[in-house]
């Protein structure tokens, strides 16, 4: 008879806690079913679907242009990147080359929204760790970007900007000057956030070595973007497979080492600075010229032509009623969005509507990895981990 047989074991059981779907730390509406032993997470089970809108099926029911507004709702923090990513894929399927100026404007506005996305993420990390001031500095900077985007597109959030073959409108007069001033203000605000968080002892303790994921695991889960680069994998589509005019612009891609929350935070802070560089160069290099191709099978004819010539009227009618006639075929194309590789697999049967429209949302892979990152860690570590992967509900649950 051993000693242990006589020991009276105190009967304990693990506590199951629901975080979400309505919970301050669960972005979007994700439900986390968490099994706790004390404060240690034994098992975490993310459940999503509360934001499901049927994006892929809806896309099959509209013309190629009519899908564009749906893409706003994917990553609603940086909708311009979804717009342009989708248009880029459609243009690749048709085999179009868009005008130079349109390429530059796409780069400038994409990078603006990348900054907005990163500022929101960094601010939210501060907010949910209890540092409210950092959040409001970040949001103040994002608000300036939203103002610029509103001037450009007419909408704060659901931009629906750009059309197949280019852009639906040119920059408003004087916009680039305001953007340059905005960048100055943003970098001073980002500096404030930097001062509040980067070397803050409590912040560093909370984020360093928490939510760690190895490069192998990150690749297996399909991580891309800042979260993958934080693990030390140097992969950025803008460098690996440059699209638009990224190969003409001089910028660096930050790469981390440990793959923890702190590195992911640093990646985003550095990318804000690099986006600033890109925008300044792009504004300098941007040529004058048309912003959409002059092909009435793809782009709407100018209004005087529509009202004055039969060819214009016909082209307008055909484009509106039947949509852009994309040749049959399929394509996979991806752009580097704020959270990683935003991929589009488009299939056309030549009917003017997408036969199939699949989105490879970067956040989906990131959310899958959360379980691996937080099991065995403390409940409090879930918060920065969930923040720094920057999961966007609208993108995961299409």
């Amino acid at each position: 008879m051993s000693e242990s047989e006589l020991e009276a074991h105190f009967p304990t059981q693990n506590m199951v806690v629901n975080l979400g779907p309505s919970h301050p730390a669960m972005h979007g509406t994700v439900r986390m079913r968490i099994e706790l032993e004390g404060e240690t997470i034994v098992k975490a089970d993310p459940e999503f679907g509360f934001l499901h809108r049927g994006f892929q099926k809806s896309a099959e029911n509209g013309t190629w242009t009519q899908v564009l507004p749906y893409t706003d709702r994917l990553n609603y923090v940086s909708s311009l990147m979804n717009n342009f990513g989708y248009l880029n894929a459609v243009e690749k399927l048709i085999g179009l080359e868009i005008p130079e100026r349109a390429k530059y404007i796409r780069v400038i506005s994409s990078e603006l929204h990348r900054m907005a996305d990163h500022l929101t993420c960094v601010g939210a990390v501060g907010l949910e760790l209890g540092g409210f001031s950092a959040f409001l500095y970040g949001i103040e900077a994002r608000e300036l970007i939203v103002d610029r985007v509103t001037e450009l597109t007419g909408a704060r959030l659901t931009t629906t900007f750009g059309r197949v073959g280019g852009l639906n409108r040119d920059l408003p007069p004087g916009w680039t000057d305001v953007v340059l001033k905005t960048l100055d203000k943003i970098s001073s605000l980002a500096h404030e956030v930097d001062g509040l968080l980067t070397r803050n002892r409590i912040f560093v303790d909370r984020t360093k070595d928490t939510g760690v994921i190895s490069a192998e695991d990150a690749l297996d889960f399909g991580f891309t973007g800042p979260c993958l680069r934080a693990c030390g994998v140097n992969y950025d589509i803008r460098k690996a497979r440059p699209y638009w005019v990224y190969d003409r612009l001089d910028f660096d891609v930050p790469v981390g080492a440990r793959g923890d929350n702190y590195d992911r935070y640093l990646m985003r802070m550095e990318e804000i600075k690099q986006s600033d560089r890109i925008i300044r160069q792009a504004i300098k290099q941007m040529p004058v010229g048309p912003v959409i191709i002059d092909d009435w099978r793809v782009a709407l004819p100018p209004k005087p032509e529509v009202y004055g010539t039969i060819e214009g009227t016909m082209a307008h009618f055909k484009l509106i009623m039947e949509g852009v006639q994309v040749p049959p075929g399929e394509v996979y194309d991806s752009t580097e969005s704020a959270n990683g590789e935003l991929g589009w697999w488009l299939v056309s049967d030549g009917s003017g509507r997408p036969y199939k429209c699949h989105v490879r949302a970067p956040s989906f892979a990131l959310l899958s990895g959360v379980t691996r990152m937080i099991e065995g860690q403390l409940l409090a570590d879930l918060i920065p981990t969930f923040d720094t992967i920057n999961m966007i509900g609208g993108e995961v649950e299409q």
Binding site: P24, G130, E140
Partner: protein, 446 residues
């Protein structure tokens, strides 16, 4: 314009302090005429209810206004009073106090069906009462003759002074842990467990941090006993360590004698108030807090209790480390003025104002910290308490004890203290700028 308005507001607050303290002295003097000890009863009214409570209530707005200032926004200005004269004026957000009060009083006091009803209702009361009683031993003004009666501006002068504060402060943990337990809510339970473990851990560091001050002044009293004349800590600080000139020099304030003790006490007491960065028991982004099931004024008691704690902590720190109601220098010169000599209550009200202005400054520092720092993690708070504050407190105690034995005039202690302050300032100003992530030179092509 803005500077003028701010100066006016500050002068107005100082004038309010003065009027309040003058009223407190006069009322106490009158009451002493009725029967001996009645002055203490009016002190309860004036110090606890008028000063601490009104400051705590004003802090609910001040915190929002100050945090707005720090965060580059406007702050509360939506609640307005519909009187002809005030219409269209936000009055600095003050009507929000009324709006909050009405909201909390008129809300349903919801009790979850599975909650333990008696304990659930008891918890906010326990939590608030313990905090509210803390101020009893803190003197807010000197003992003076008013209307031929000796009036001391303190509620009680027990000879165990500081021990009373430790004892009552540790009672507050019952309220929070009961609230977490009685709610029958898993998240509230987590909050309650966090609160009790945190508060119990920091009791040790809290007590230890003040032992240095106790041996330096050879007392645990805060207020001087009006009967026996046994010197309290506040009055013991009203002397010079070194004088330069007739009435100027370095006062024997606790901050100069025990800077380490001050930092330790501030950190430990801050942890006891359960406000950010030590707000893990409520951690609204993780577990929503031990009072997640409370609504209406029951929640209000928890909330206002935190603000009362902030004010009282500021009062205690002022009394122990910043000379209480005493001026740093020039007090003896001022006291010889005819106005002050002929009307002692004016002198008392003046010194009382000094006390509250110092306390308000400490309150401001606390809010500054609350809005700047992120939150600790559960294990990090325990590590800070047991592995850093406790050893530092012990070390500080040994060093201070040795220095006091070596030089009972406390000058050696002050030299070491000033050196420590200098080291902290030097470290602060020589810190390097933040190191950003190093960008990779060029991306590999996959």
């Amino acid at each position: 314009m803005r500077a003028a308005m701010s100066s006016f507001a500050m002068a107005f607050i100082v004038a309010l302090f003065f009027c309040g303290m003058a009223a407190a002295y006069i009322a106490s003097g009158f009451a002493e005429g009725l029967f001996a000890g009645a002055g203490r009863l009016t002190n309860i009214l004036f110090l606890s209810l008028v000063f601490v409570m009104v400051m705590a209530v004003a802090l609910t707005v001040a915190e929002r206004k100050w945090s707005a200032l720090m965060q580059d926004r406007i702050g509360p200005n939506r609640a307005r009073i519909a009187l002809p004269w005030f219409r269209g004026h936000s009055l600095g957000g003050l009507p929000h106090v009324l709006a909050d009060t009405f909201k909390m009083l008129s809300k349903e006091a919801f009790v979850p069906a599975t909650a333990s009803r008696f304990l659930f209702n008891l918890a906010p009361v326990l939590s608030f009462a313990a905090i509210f009683a803390l101020f009893a031993v803190v003197p807010a003004g000197p003992t003076l003759p008013v209307h031929n009666h000796r009036v001391s501006m303190v509620i009680a002068t027990p000879d165990f002074g500081l021990l009373y504060i430790f004892a009552i402060a540790s009672l507050a943990v019952y309220g929070t842990s009961l609230a977490g337990w009685a709610s029958n809510n898993k998240l509230a339970l987590l909050g309650g467990v966090r609160a009790s473990s945190q508060m119990i851990s920091y009791e040790v560091a809290l007590g230890l941090s003040l032992v240095g001050m106790m041996i330096a002044f050879d007392t645990v009293r805060l207020a001087t006993d009006p009967v026996t004349g046994a010197l309290g800590m506040t009055d013991a600080q009203a002397r010079y360590l070194w004088t330069f000139g007739s009435d100027f020099g370095l006062p024997a304030w606790g901050i100069f004698l025990q800077p380490v003790g001050f930092v330790l006490f501030f950190a430990a007491a801050f942890a006891e108030t359960k406000r950010a960065p030590f707000d893990l028991p409520e951690a609204e982004s993780e577990i929503l807090g031990y009072f997640v099931e409370y609504s209406g004024m029951q929640f209000g008691l928890f909330m206002i209790g935190e603000f009362v704690e902030v004010v009282i902590l500021a009062g205690i720190i002022t009394a122990i480390f910043f000379g209480g109601y005493h001026l740093p220098f020039g007090e003896a010169t001022l006291a010889r003025w005819d106005l002050f000599r002929q009307h002692p209550w004016v002198w008392g009200a003046f010194l009382g104002t000094v006390f509250w202005v110092k306390a308000l400054f400490i309150v401001w520092i606390q809010l500054l910290m609350r809005w700047t720092f992120p939150r600790f993690r559960y294990d990090q708070v325990q590590r800070l308490g047991w592995k850093m504050l406790l050893p530092a407190g012990l070390l500080n105690l040994f060093v201070s004890g040795a220095l006091i034995l070596w030089d009972p005039s406390l000058r050696a202690l002050a030299v070491v203290g000033l050196f420590e302050i200098g080291v902290v300032i030097a470290f602060t100003f020589t810190s390097k700028p933040a190191v950003a992530a190093r960008p990779a030179a060029a991306a590999a092509h996959h």
